[in-house]
Point group: C2
Chain length 342, copies 2
DNA sequence: CTTTGCTATTGACTCGAGTAGATCTGGGTG
DNA sequence: CACCCAGATCTACTCGAGTCAATAGCAAAG
């Protein structure tokens, strides 16, 4: 006679727990744990097979909350950026997510929208959620470290020049990068090079401004006009309008972010000027957008993937008691057509 | 004599728990919970003050993992997108994060990189992490719903035309949007309108292609050339090259995403053709990038913020037992210069 | 001076998984 | 045949917070 084989135990309602698996496989809950984690104790191959089977049949997935509670780690990292829809941060977030996922960490994302109160709230929120580390791209250049300190969570400050003691930080050599770009423009024969400088809340001078000035001084050239505006497309647009209207109009402009350069290009196009023929442009960041603007932008590329990896590695390292580090990465000039190269 | 007031109980090493607060305040742990949550039972004002004090002094933050374990909810939503560095998804993610944060939910982000295996892994991972809901922008047009089903997690399918029974879905009326754009191009007098169609893994025809065809048929015009390529900038670039090389070169092109249009513009510029003079362009999505391309793109705008809000609301609603819904949003034509308007 | 009827508070159990320490095997000695 | 040992497995406690049933405290009523 043909008999339907029914499992010894009914499939449980709702989420499947370790206990269900244990019952189904006819073993104790401990063995299930050992199998799932390659646990601290060995399990006989035959038993392991039974358990694996039960896991497959019941569709068991260990409860991450319980695991986090017991282990004191949520295997989660928090990322706070000013605005994920800024392509540079989007690129960076992607790289961070990749790096985190490779190490088994999930990524909780939050936007601070250039708002300090929101940034603070986000950090607190992440702290309460027991994230194992926070990556902070602050809206300030001197972020509110106190929140992170009291929360006692490993953290990495991104794009930070200041070495905050006790904190990891990751950044690029802004001055060197800017200098490289401006020197390239000088190499094209420009003697009047303007600067579209992004504004930040800090009092100290941004490295990109320093680099621009250094390059000019080093070449014995006078400083071209500077316009300060936001690090955004609209910011670059108004910067462009103002630079083009300045008494001694520059023949080349260095913009401190790709977004600004994109906005700037629009202003130049609207003015009916040719790029790079009448106005050459170079910028900073190395986002994909720079490659597809018209003309394609010569830009200082940040090694986003390496920075993201280093940032994640620093957080994971911190959990193992490693000392905070300050890492400054070198940039690379990506030459395209906006500078005058063919 | 001057005596240092020392707390009755030493500040504990490591993370502060409810127990520490209870001891410090001289109450039971239950009361602490009641105070923290405005708990199910009332607490005398004087006691509450003592507890609040202790919380402040000790810097207590409830352990989210323990909370999640007990309540079976992590107050977390998962978002799976093909690629966060695609500006459209970046914009969408930002909107989702806003909507989620407004309701007290955190957002776990993961990229599937157009890879089905990775998409599946990400969903499993989110399921294990007990997220309260998943927003899935699948790489497929017929995503792997089984994973979500067995995980038994409320979910929303994004940009999905098919009504998957038992699932929430949010999308836009692709055909209507495309038709609107193509009709606008027809209004400019174009009679040969090409299509740069993004490829997806589905077998069925994309609504945007349908809309393009409908508009042409309705106006009694012949179908212009079609080129299929990826929904990306490089994809649009090669599509542009091919369309420009086609035997009857179109005088206007509809691109099915802003990214494609950006790449297409590059191809047109490289060919030395004027936009919109010799080639008019319209596209689909309504991302910020479309506003700052040259010339600014006329594009079909998706109501991203509303869609994100609806998606999050659907997930939160699902936890309260609401039925799955299928919502299709209307698009809006954003007229700029690439179509020929001044 | 009880007793009733509150309210404020507490003890204790629960969620699901990790793991130390105890227990149970069975095979190999002496 | 009793004994030992190692490997396999199980029992039971723990993590931190939510919450119910039980209790303590106390004022008004009888």
């Amino acid at each position: 006679m043909y008999t339907m084989t029914t499992p010894a135990v009914q499939a449980p309602r709702g989420p499947v727990t370790r206990k269900d698996v244990a019952r189904y496989a006819g073993v104790s809950t401990a063995v299930v744990s050992y199998v799932v984690n390659g646990g601290p104790k060995k399990v006989a191959p035959a038993t392991e097979a039974k358990v694996q089977d039960a896991i497959r049949v019941l569709g068991y997935r260990p409860n991450a909350a319980a695991r986090a509670l017991k282990l004191g780690s949520s295997e989660t990292l928090g990322l706070v950026v000013p605005d994920i829809s800024n392509p540079f941060f989007a690129l960076f977030s992607h790289a961070v997510e990749d790096a985190a996922a490779a190490l088994g960490y999930a990524l909780v994302l939050s936007n601070s929208d250039g708002n300090l109160a929101k940034e603070r709230r986000n950090i607190r929120n992440l702290a309460a959620r027991q994230v194992d580390g926070v990556l902070l791209a602050s809206v300030l250049f001197e972020p509110d470290l106190e929140v992170l300190e009291t929360a006692d969570i490993p953290s990495v400050l991104l794009n930070q020049e200041r070495d905050a003691p006790g904190f990891n930080s990751i950044g690029v050599d802004l001055a060197a990068g800017a200098r490289m770009a401006v020197e390239h423009l000088i190499g094209h024969g420009h003697t009047n090079i303007g600067l579209a400088m992004g504004t930040n809340v800090s009092g100290s001078t941004d490295g990109r401004e320093v680099g621009w000035r250094e390059a000019l001084q080093h070449a014995g050239l006078p400083e071209g006009p500077i316009v300060y505006s936001e690090f955004t497309r609209p910011g670059g647009y108004v910067a462009g309008q103002r630079l083009l209207a300045s008494v001694n109009r520059p023949t080349a402009i260095f913009a401190t972010s790709d977004m600004q350069a994109i906005g700037l290009l629009r202003a130049v196009h609207e003015a009916g000027l040719a790029v790079p023929g009448q106005i050459a442009v170079a910028s900073f960041d190395g986002s994909v957008e720079a490659e597809y603007s018209w003309p394609p932008l010569t830009t200082v590329e940040q090694p986003v993937a390496e920075m993201a990896e280093a940032a994640v590695a620093a957080l994971v390292g911190a959990r193992r008691g490693e000392e905070p580090r300050h890492r400054i990465f070198a940039t690379k000039l990506h030459v395209r057509q906006s500078c005058g190269c063919p």
